[in-house]
Amino acid sequence: MKVKKGIPLIDQHDKNGFYGGKFGGNYVAETLKKPIDDLSELFEKCRKDKKFLKERDDLYENYVGSPTRFFKLQNLTDHLGGAQIYAKMVSDANGGAHKIYNAITHAMLCKKAKKKYICTDTGAGYNGKMFSMVAKKFGLGCKVFMGTRDIERQKPNCDAIRKNGAEIVPVTSGSKTLVDAVSECIRYWVSNCDKVHMGIGSLVGPNIFVKICGWSTAQISRELKVQLEDEFGEIPNKLKLINCVGGGSSAYGFWSEFFDYNKKHIELIGVEAGGPKNSKLHAAPLSKNSKIGILHGAAAYCVQDNDGQISETESCSSGLDYPSCSPIHCFLKDVGRARYTVATDEEAFSAYKLVTELEEISPSLEPAHSFAEAIKIAPKLDESNIIIVNSCGDSLKDKDIIKKRLGNYIR
């Protein structure tokens, strides 16, 4: 089991949709087999279609805004006194996070499939917001499934979703967070797959959704590769790419151009949500060695109890608060191409505090987890090391949580 060179990682699955023979697959109800086959066929056709690609590139460039900025965090670097720290400001993207890339592809595919409605899930609200934006742009009806606990804690994004004319469907089952929102969204699709296109908001779900999402977010690393060459004249040695991992869509996008490099040349570090320091609960199936489980159509490391039920997770960050993770990240963990670790809620908040005090950026609580890891390792490394953090979301959606936790929120 290893990463094949020269082939996009999303395409390195077997005929049943498994990566490394055991991660992923298509564990879905019979009703969804046909819609999934149809979508797979459509996607494979479109990704080879020059017109489709041109339209997508045009949207990425002019509507999302490409490239998102890449610059050095000089103050943070000086403060920590070790490795040089850079940020890739994916939060510059229209809407404020990387979720826009996947949303655009899904809206385009929805149009191609001649469907008038699109549905999706959301945790932090960013995916829901982006789907509502593109739905408005493309003239599609849009339903966003969201746990009631997340509706409470991510109000700014909910307001945006509603403002764009999309409907938020509150999900009250189970833990009332992302895991239940995805289940409910899939259930809705089972009942309405003839008329409605479903987009899953991360690098999870049945194989085709993993592929579409990874294919879309890969834009991030295409941009970064060019920016690295501009900045350094080459791809620098001793490079570390740090990204938070919930489902794992932004991490895949951030890393996708760099899997073929030796890990000593480019190290990939994924940071999962460790939850509150004193809590047993977390959302870190990769770092905490959870067993493989079947959730939302795919086999992946998944936080579960002794009886096989999916366990509750806990994190200050809604976007990382998911018990499972992408089959691709499971594969990367097992082959040793990426390293996964955790940051606790407390570490994420202090990282947010330090970064916003020193720099003119304001990452949301998801990338605050990545900054926490950067802050941990930078002082131990010398300046020949380059750390790049994907600042994949803007803090505005977290203003209430931050205010409550740190006393104030200034933006």
Binding site: Y27, T31, L32, K33, S173, G174, S191, C193, H296, I310
Partner: protein, 266 residues
């Protein structure tokens, strides 16, 4: 040797009626009560489907979800489902039992161990909602080897070509999903159309029994009685919810409900 499930269908055919299959969730609303419910409704039902709860179901409607969460809240464990079947099977004239649930529970328990345990406690069939053909080939063979019927699902979205392959690999029972819906949705397709589709599929191999499920209640069951068998699930789960709300005994309530259903198809 014919399976208990096949024998149950033969008996119904001799009586010139479809088989009545019930679905209730193991452990709803308690381990004890769910066993009592099975014992009680087996007076009228021909085959009992028993759900083993999973807390991230992707194809269940609200009624079955309520039952599932109720069972889990009461501390239900997978071993309890096996125990319930085992105890139920001790009664005289016990009916065939089909366990139904999601693959995660099987995967976590271990495929071989799961099937072995099923055989040990007397489970006659298995429905794994999210293990569609062809991914279920290996598992289904393993079931057959242990004399357990693996029930294949067919949906309105299944293509004819795919149907033929599914039925070719199927055992003695298939399950037709009546419409595009999670369980317990309102029947949004006319019974006439469902039956037309049913007989079209039935022609592929007449020797295999096929039941219809999803959206069947006491209002609609009579219109579908030409099928080999009919499954009622969500309506019964709702019955349990209602009886709890009204402080009635769910055992008595469900017995009455299943009796009414049976009377509609005689």
């Amino acid at each position: 040797m014919k399976s208990q499930i096949s024998l149950a269908f033969e008996k119904c055919k001799r009586e010139n009626r479809p088989a009545l299959l019930t679905y209730t969730v193991a452990g709803d609303n308690s381990k004890k009560k769910s066993l009592e419910i099975l014992k009680s409704i087996s007076q009228h039902a021909d085959i009992l489907e028993i759900g083993f709860p999973f807390n991230a179901p992707t194809a269940d409607g609200p009624q079955i979800q309520n039952s599932t969460y109720r069972a889990l809240k009461n501390g239900f464990k997978l071993k309890d489902a096996f125990q319930i079947v085992k105890n139920y099977k001790k009664m005289r004239n016990a009916k065939p039992c089909i366990l139904m649930g999601y693959y995660q529970m099987v995967y976590h328990y271990g495929e071989k161990k799961f099937i072995k345990k099923c055989k040990q406690v007397g489970v006659n069939g298995l429905i794994i909602v999210d293990l569609p053909w062809p991914d279920n080939k290996k598992f289904s063979k393993l079931c057959k080897k242990n004399s357990i019927t693996f029930v294949q699902l067919i949906s309105p979205t299944t293509s004819k070509e795919r149907m033929k392959k599914i039925i070719r690999d199927s055992h003695d029972l298939n399950y037709l999903i009546s419409m595009l819906s999670t369980t317990g949705g309102k029947l949004k397709v006319s019974p006439k159309r469902i039956l037309k589709n049913y007989f079209k599929i039935k022609r592929i191999n007449k020797s295999k029994n096929m039941v219809i499920g999803f959206g069947i209640t006491n209002k609609t069951i009579g219109t579908l009685k030409k099928a080999d068998g009919l499954v009622v699930g969500s309506a019964l789960c709702k019955g349990i919810s209602d009886s709890i709300k009204n402080r009635q005994n769910p055992v008595i309530k469900l017995n009455k409900m299943v009796e009414v259903l049976k009377n509609k198809i005689i």
